[in-house]
């Protein structure tokens, strides 16, 4: 795909690079999607005190370790950005792979956790709490997977020293995915 960029893409009337601007708008639209979902969950949670009992079956340890894993991977994304800013594409690619590995560990832990819960009968159709539990965490997990795939593509370019500005863009997105988890963790695991 060696398309020449239009002049429009190289302009920057606001002073913010166009790619970065677009990532922020993507995040804006994502905030309202998760916002709508979590607001619905919170309203239901307030209306159903009995959900606290269902929530007590979630495993805070799994959630806590995953929080740690995801936050650590965000640190790697920052280090990748730092390397990219200094023009070191190879190093940036390595840190991006480390970030990606963090995402993979997160998904792996999630798979183990969900398998156990489903085996105990807490499936998505069990009741309202488990509807939201699997939906919210599942949509978040899809974002983690999508982020990893994009990151691999960017790492492949960065390795050859191409499109280094994209390292920062995927970093911004990855931090957002992190922050969503920071909301999900207390709402789904800690509040009992």
């Amino acid at each position: 795909m060696s398309t020449t960029r239009p002049i429009a893409t190289t302009r920057s009337a606001t002073g913010i690079p166009t790619g970065k601007l677009a990532v922020w708008w993507v995040i804006g639209s994502e905030i309202v999607i998760f916002g709508g979902l979590l607001a619905s969950y919170i309203m239901h949670r307030i209306g159903h005190p009995e959900w606290a009992e269902y929530a007590s079956h979630t495993n805070t340890w799994f959630g806590g370790i995953n929080t740690f894993v995801l936050l650590t991977s965000s640190l790697f994304a920052v280090l990748a950005h730092y390397a990219a800013e200094h023009g070191d594409g190879k190093k940036a690619a390595r840190w991006l792979l480390a970030t990606c590995a963090g995402g993979a560990v997160f998904i792996g832990i999630k798979a183990v956790e969900w398998t156990g819960e489903i085996q105990h009968g807490y499936t998505i159709t069990a009741n309202g709490f488990w509807h939201f539990y699997y939906t919210a965490a599942g949509i978040h997990a899809l974002h983690v997977i999508a982020g990893c795939i994009i990151m691999l593509i960017i790492a492949n370019d960065a390795r050859k020293g191409k499109e280094l500005h994209r390292v920062e863009l995927i970093g911004i997105y990855w931090h957002f995915v992190d922050i969503v988890w920071i909301f999900l963790f207390p709402l789904l695991y800690i509040a009992k």
């Binding site: 398309t3 020449t4 960029r5 239009p6 002049i7 429009a8 893409t9 190289t10 302009r11 920057s12 009337a13 606001t14 002073g15 913010i16 166009t18 601007l21 677009a22 708008w25 993507v26 804006g28 639209s29 994502e30 905030i31 309202v32 999607i33 998760f34 916002g35 709508g36 979902l37 607001a39 619905s40 309203m43 239901h44 209306g47 159903h48 998505i124 159709t125 009741n127 309202g128 509807h131 939906t135 949509i139």
Partner: protein, 574 residues
């Protein structure tokens, strides 16, 4: 920035403008914004014909219950529901949005800001491809076992969430998937529109030099992006209710059907302004050109549009006055709903002030623009009765509501489209539309439109409920059959007049008078390049911008318009 500036002004054009493209890369997989605009426009026109055909079938059923409809056959009860549901869905999501936002947005944004393309051409192409897929999925939903979804375009659960009630196990899921894909397409397109307008403007084009139509399209994209999220979340929930048997909207299992109504209308009401604002923008540009006057108080119109957008997030529950919401909330939403009529009325007044004292030319696009103002006022005023909770309890779900929102959506989607397409047709295709045929089509459409919907106001006030298959079963309503027949006849007349438009469109495409660069003598940037603009838009280098978009009849100048790209030193000394 400095680097970009020098590249542009010296016209070192990155595109291979003279390179010969194959059919596929030119028409089907093009990343050129003008071609994508055409794809959106023609898909929208085809969908409008399908939506119009649906209205023909169910209006015939209402006028002549049980009889075989020519070109359709007998409309069964289930089909009737599927037809009204998909007529609404198509006209809003597959006609109003693709034509007003995507087609005009894609065509106009780069041309009016002096750029060679959108900032993300490939995302733009992806946006259209997803949109096309969504249209295919929607049409496919009619041909699956059980038929198309019939639970109204608002898709309230439990009717929409359970095949047991809807009797369309596949149709309702395909409908939902199609709508969700359409949202994805417009989120991608919207991000492109917003970033393009923010970053890719010609050197010298400041915030208040942007043509109003672009502002309106971009404000609409922002509104869409800010309001559709909760409904996407809701669509995921509804999808899981349908497919894997969760109970988000099932009160028997701890769910809440009213939640869907909130998620839907939190999007659904801003959506009205998502489609209204681009139409208002198209009208603003047209009335300036054809009254040869500056837009009256550009900044006030712009800020009013922003204010309208913000207020539109606080009115949604006026759709739910009889849905069992807290009556105290009904008070609040009555007040916010009546408040939102103020900025819109203000914008209409500012448009009329633009016309005042102008040198008015009644061309076809100008007629459409004026008709927009006149017809939309009727739609707005009848909305007051529905926004006030007291009278809404009587009018809710009657044909009064139906006539009201057709008096808003018809001016927006249909009149707005005709205004825009008759105005920019010369730029799109390089030829003029026939004015005589255009005026015949205009009067035929406008008169028959009013003849359809004024009787429906009367029927609604008489208590006729919506979404009923056959009114002959209701003794109190059966006697009003003449009005129904009248409205249906008017619909047939209106549909027949559209043939004139299609004829005019096709013939002018081939044989119309060549338009030249600037047939309307307008001052915005799109009129400074050839018609139709070549790949890359300005082969000799992109223009700079020196002034606002509506410098008409400037005293002391020979021409009565002053193009945005003409450097000021050519002006006569003061």
């Amino acid at each position: 920035m400095a680097e970009a500036g020098t590249v542009e002004t010296h016209g070192a054009h990155a595109h291979d403008a003279h390179h010969e493209q194959s059919f596929w890369s030119k028409y089907i997989f093009s990343t050129d914004h003008k071609m994508i605009a055409m794809q959106y426009m023609f898909t929208g026109i085809v969908m409008a014909l399908i939506g119009g055909y649906m209205s023909y079938a169910f209006r015939m059923q209402l006028a002549f219950p049980g009889e075989s409809v020519p070109g359709y056959g007998v409309v069964s009860q289930g089909e009737y529901n599927a037809l009204v549901t998909n007529h609404g869905t198509i006209m809003i999501f597959w006609v109003a949005m693709p034509v007003l936002i995507a087609a005009f947005g894609n065509f106009l944004i780069p041309l009016m800001i002096g750029a060679d393309d959108m900032v993300f051409p490939r995302i733009n192409r992806l946006s259209y491809q997803i949109f096309f897929l969504s249209a295919v999925v929607l049409i496919a939903s009619f041909f699956v076992p059980g038929g198309g979804f019939g639970g109204a375009w608002t898709a309230y659960p439990p009717l929409s969430s359970s095949a047991e009630y809807s009797l369309t196990p596949l149709g309702s899921t395909l409908w939902l998937v199609a709508v969700a894909l359409e949202f994805v397409a417009f989120l991608l397109g919207g991000i492109n529109f917003i970033t393009t307008l923010m970053n890719a403007r010609a050197p010298g084009m400041k915030m208040h030099d942007i043509p109003m139509v672009l502002w309106m399209i971009v404000i609409a994209s922002i509104l869409f992006m800010a309001s559709v999220g909760p409904l996407i979340a809701g669509a995921v929930m509804l999808f899981m209710d349908q497919v894997i048997g969760t109970g988000y909207f099932d009160p028997g299992r701890g769910g809440d059907p009213i939640l869907w109504q909130h998620l839907f209308w939190f999007f659904g009401h801003p959506e009205v302004y998502v489609v209204l604002l681009p139409a208002m923008g198209i009208v603003a540009d047209i009335i300036c050109t054809f009254s040869r006057k500056k837009l009256f108080n550009y900044k006030l119109i712009l800020y009013t549009a922003f204010a309208t957008g913000i207020i539109s997030f606080f009115v949604w529950a006026h759709h739910q006055f009889v849905a069992g919401i807290d009556p105290r909330m009904a008070n609040v939403f009555t007040i916010t709903t009546l408040i939102i009529s103020i900025p819109i009325a203000e914008m209409i007044f500012l448009y009329i002030a633009t016309l005042y004292g102008g040198s008015i030319r009644l061309t076809t696009p100008m007629l459409w623009a004026l008709a927009f103002i006149a017809e939309f006022i009727i739609g707005g005023i009848t909305g007051i009765f529905l926004g006030a909770s007291g009278s809404d309890i009587y009018f809710h779900d009657t044909y009064f509501v139906l006539a009201h929102f057709h008096y808003t959506f018809f001016p927006i989607a249909i009149i707005g489209f005709f205004a825009g397409v008759t105005y920019w047709f010369p730029k799109m295709f390089g030829r003029m539309l026939d004015e005589t045929l255009g005026k015949i089509h205009f009067w035929g459409t406008i008169i028959s439109f009013n003849a359809i919907f004024i009787p429906l106001f009367v029927l609604g006030a008489a208590g006729q409920h919506r979404r009923i298959y056959n009114y002959q079963n209701f003794p109190d309503l059966a006697g009003l059959q003449d009005l129904r027949v009248f409205a249906t006849t008017a619909l047939l007349v209106m549909l027949a007049f559209q043939a004139i438009f299609l004829f005019n469109f096709v013939v002018s495409l081939v044989k119309g008078k060549p338009a030249g660069k600037n047939p309307w003598k307008a001052s915005t940037l799109e009129w400074t390049t050839e018609s139709p603009p070549p790949h890359g838009n300005w082969p000799e280098g992109l223009p700079n911008c020196y002034r606002g978009p509506y410098e008409y009849s400037v005293p002391g100048r020979e021409d009565d318009y002053w193009p945005q790209n003409v450097p000021p030193d050519t002006a006569p000394a003061e």
